[in-house]
């Protein structure tokens, strides 16, 4: 066997506790992105991911005030193709732990506010394996607590991608449930947790209304929310004799019966 491609990317991780101003997030994430290998590029306030087989995206982080920031996600090497601006709003005032997960192909911001509903943002390009990484152009996704102009966001399944040629917020993450209101088998009857890749589906350009599997998020797993909470750390075998350490992330209150969280790779 070998480590799956979506788990073969070097993870970068940083946790900062006692954060009370989103400017700390912007500063720390920027430093993390531009110091990793391969490094992201900062040009005129825009962070560009390293290009790979044509897959590239960029983000623009803007502080609104101490507790609010927006992140604009765009596809490609320019800002011409916008996927959507995410809004991260913490309580006013706030103090929490901020966990940053990033790598060549992705960013995940996880804000742990204790008893308050967590705030999060993630964006990245998908791993298309086993197909060629340039097999299609619907590789960009963004997911956050809230997006400007969208109200249907209280669901971890909702993700921005391009459906046909239009940026669309839709319930597109593989659920493994049979029916929207049914539970999901993320544990065995013996109590073992089941970890699954986070896979995203979308409508191809000119593709009518059917959703196709676009790919899987790098260094990201879906884990059972019935057994794990935000900040929990788990060690997952990713190959024979190889493990990865992941941290469960918070997010909007999951849709009823969707018993899962995202977990991002820490090391």
């Amino acid at each position: 066997m070998s480590v799956p491609a979506f788990l073969s990317v070097t993870p970068y991780y940083q946790e900062t506790v006692g954060v009370s101003d989103v400017s700390t997030i912007i500063t720390n994430l920027g430093a993390l992105l531009t110091s990793q290998s391969p490094a992201w590029t900062l040009l005129s306030g825009v962070y560009y991911s390293p290009a790979d087989s044509g897959r590239q995206f960029n983000i623009t982080m803007t502080r609104t005030n101490a507790y609010t920031m927006t992140i604009l996600v765009c596809q490609g090497a320019s800002q011409a193709v916008q996927l959507g601006p995410a809004t991260l709003t913490c309580p006013n005032p706030w103090s929490g732990a901020v966990r940053l997960f990033c790598g060549q192909f992705y960013i995940h911001i996880d804000i742990d506010l204790g008893s308050t509903t967590p705030v999060y943002f993630c964006a990245g390009v998908l791993d298309l394996s086993p197909e060629a990484q340039n097999a299609h152009t619907h590789f960009l996704y963004a997911n956050a607590t809230a997006f400007a102009g969208s109200s249907s966001n209280a669901d971890i399944s909702n993700v921005y991608m391009f459906d046909n040629a239009t940026a669309t917020y839709a319930r597109r993450r593989s659920g493994w449930q049979s029916y929207q209101g049914s539970g999901q088998g993320f544990t065995t009857p013996n109590g073992a947790r089941i970890y699954r890749p986070s896979e995203l589906w979308c409508i191809p350009t000119g593709g009518g209304s059917a959703y196709y599997l676009a790919g899987r998020q790098y260094n990201c797993l879906m884990v059972p929310s019935t057994m794990l909470s935000q900040g929990d750390e788990i060690t997952v075998p990713v190959d024979v004799g190889v493990t990865g350490v992941f941290k469960a992330c918070g997010g909007p209150v999951p849709y009823a019966y969707i018993s899962r969280l995202l977990a991002m790779r820490k090391s």
Binding site: G175, S178, Y179, G183, F186, Y211, L213
Partner: protein, 280 residues
């Protein structure tokens, strides 16, 4: 790598397949099942004569106690009904909901397709070209033991109801014993669909054009704390656009392929899939 446990085995030793055309009496099906399952180590008997014959099929004995029994009874020369019993004598197919299955004797008779293995079988009849599918078995819980905390048995709810209505012929309506329950129950919601959610039209393929093949996993329990019970042996889930009877060759290990045939039971209402069972 290795062949996944639910697909492991050798043809004619662990699993087999038979297509029999021109069947005009369901006793032929009872006898075919007898032949197919006996070859795999099941204990089988067929008693009586048509149209009241009874076939009894008991899965191979295992040291862990996992075993189940299928009694197929002729309702008439063209109708069968099934009663499946688990290892504790629990009715997987409750009496009031015992599935029935038809053939048509006229016009040259009907075809029957038998997809059998040591842990269960699918039986598909094609009266007048409309496929009717019955199946039952025990689930593969690998990497955990099949009998811990207990074995999970399953059966289709159809193809036909106990009143012989062709109303239960869906690929997504299975009977299982939910964790925490003492009574088997049918549900449209106890499989893992793999897709994002209900209501979306899925093409079970990638944007790059590759067909997606996934195990047929069954889950249950009281939501949201549902549990993955296991997967059906020698069976996969394929895109709903696959045609009845289409044969799909699937790589199941490095340099190893298996051939599956698409069953004709109705596609899932919510999740765009069909069942395919192993042929070779």
């Amino acid at each position: 790598m290795a062949v996944p446990n639910f697909l492991a085995g050798t043809i004619n030793v662990d699993f087999n397949y038979l297509s029999h055309v021109g069947i005009t009496d369901t006793i032929t099906i009872l006898n075919d099942l007898n032949t197919q399952l006996t070859a795999l180590g099941w204990t089988c008997t067929v008693t009586g004569a048509s149209p009241t014959a009874v076939g009894t099929y008991i899965s191979p004995t295992r040291t862990d106690g996992v075993s189940f029994k299928v009694v197929a009874t002729q309702v008439s020369a063209t109708v069968l009904k099934y009663a499946v019993t688990d290892q504790w004598s629990g009715s997987v197919t409750p009496v009031a909901n015992q599935p029935q299955q038809n053939i048509v004797a006229t016009g040259g008779g009907s075809e029957a397709r038998y997809y059998s293995n040591k842990f269960g079988f699918f039986l598909e009849t094609l009266p007048s070209g409309v496929a009717e599918c019955f199946g039952c078995g025990v689930l593969d819980a690998t990497p955990e033991a099949i009998n811990v905390p207990r074995a999970f048995y399953w059966a289709t709810s159809g193809p036909r109801s106990a009143a012989n209505a062709l109303s239960q012929n869906g690929a997504d309506n299975m009977t299982t014993l939910p964790l925490g329950s003492t009574t088997y129950a049918a549900s449209y919601y106890n499989y893992c669909s793999y897709g994002p959610t209900q209501g979306l039209t899925l093409s079970r393929s990638t944007l790059g054009g590759s067909l997606l093949i996934v195990p047929f996993d069954i889950q249950g329990g009281m939501a949201p704390a549902s549990y993955l019970y296991g997967r059906i042996f020698q069976c996969i889930m394929v895109d709903a656009a696959q045609s009845l009877g289409a044969q799909i060759t699937v790589p199941i290990d490095t340099g190893v392929t298996a051939v599956f045939r698409v069953l004709g039971c109705a596609t899932s209402t919510y999740n765009s899939f069909r069942i395919a069972a192993r042929v070779s």
